[in-house]
Symmetry: C2
Subunit: 207 residues, 2 copies
């Protein structure tokens, strides 16, 4: 077992393995191999074995992985064998879709607080959760000791929101606003911008 820091690109693949394994499990499949998993994900079996070897010995040559057990191990590695409350800032079309999205629970997350700066939205409820004003965000997040947030505001507001989130104790931000955030080095940021993904693909298309 390799004890050096695991490259972030490896960490980035673990949730993809976990998602695929849970799907197999939901289909009643209990054992798989790196070859089968790799074929399904378009990742080489050698890569999968190498990625997992950072964390210990999971499968046995010839017998494959016990999926339920491997899921449990991956959930523990990724710290999602618990439920993280998440603050969502910006309840426009996208924020609303995220607040309604049923795919967070059972995967380690629960949207716990909603914030917007539009007086017309404040006080409205989505899934029993009241939309709160952004000026109460800092205190509210601090009191609830929330560590994870999603930003779904327009680009112009995102940096200011990020600054306030970090000040309130947020350590990980998933940013949907199409802008690079400047945050202290110990704060994790991930980005979701559909255009970035689309442009990455059109490079390969014929003109």
């Amino acid at each position: 077992m390799d004890r050096s820091p695991v490259p972030d690109i490896v960490i980035g693949r673990l949730p993809i393995y976990l998602r695929a394994l849970k799907r197999l499990l939901s289909e009643g499949i209990e054992v798989t191999s790196s070859r089968e998993l790799g074929r399904w994900l378009g990742i080489s079996s050698a890569q999968i074995r190498k990625d997992l070897s950072h964390f210990g010995e999971f499968g046995k040559q010839g017998t494959g992985y016990h999926i339920g057990k491997l899921c449990g191990e991956l959930e523990q590695i990724l710290n999602v064998n618990r439920e993280w409350p998440v603050a969502l800032v910006g309840v426009g079309d996208l924020g609303r879709a995220l607040a309604h999205y049923g795919g967070f629970s059972h995967r380690g997350f629960r949207i716990a607080q909603l914030f917007d700066n539009d007086p017309a939205k404040i006080g409205q409820k989505i899934n029993e959760l009241e939309i709160m004003p952004v000026n109460k965000m800092g205190n509210s997040i601090e009191e609830a000791r929330i560590r994870v947030a999603m930003i779904a505001t327009p680009a112009d507001a995102a940096q200011e929101v990020a600054d306030a989130l970090v000040k309130a104790g947020i350590r990980a931000i998933l940013n949907y606003a199409p802008i690079a955030l400047i945050v202290p080095g110990d704060i994790r940021v991930q980005y979701i911008d559909p255009v970035i993904h689309l442009q990455r693909m059109t490079y390969y298309l014929e003109k």
Copy 2:
């Protein structure tokens, strides 16, 4: 100028450079350096220079990049100096948010066709665009020669939709359904699943 195939990870960074450069431009800034850009994006200046060197000579030592010109070059490299019509399949909460999203235009994309299988939604309009039944999808996409699609259906429907899209001539799929798609090797797929990004961050958080 290096003529070997450019690694996909480099291609993946170009849209991020383009987005940042366009933002600088919108703020009236006309010249930047790899150092300034890198500081903003959290990417080393050496990395940026190396990435761009795959495509030619852009900046001059000491004078930096002319942002407007570099934007134009990047748009050309990424094939977004034109507008790609996009088919969107699945008009639930997320699909609706995507259909309303104003951030596609001016970045190379325009949602051109909407599809859903819910009779209650078919015929409804979003931004003047009528939601069409999924069973007309193949013909409609083929006739309009659309090459790019987004899937925002539930996970269970996504593979079937992807198969139909590929058959209709789609070459690039942005998949929001939380499931790995199996497609022919020459079809590009990118994934957006917020939980994958969240789990990648919780790895680093204290328990």
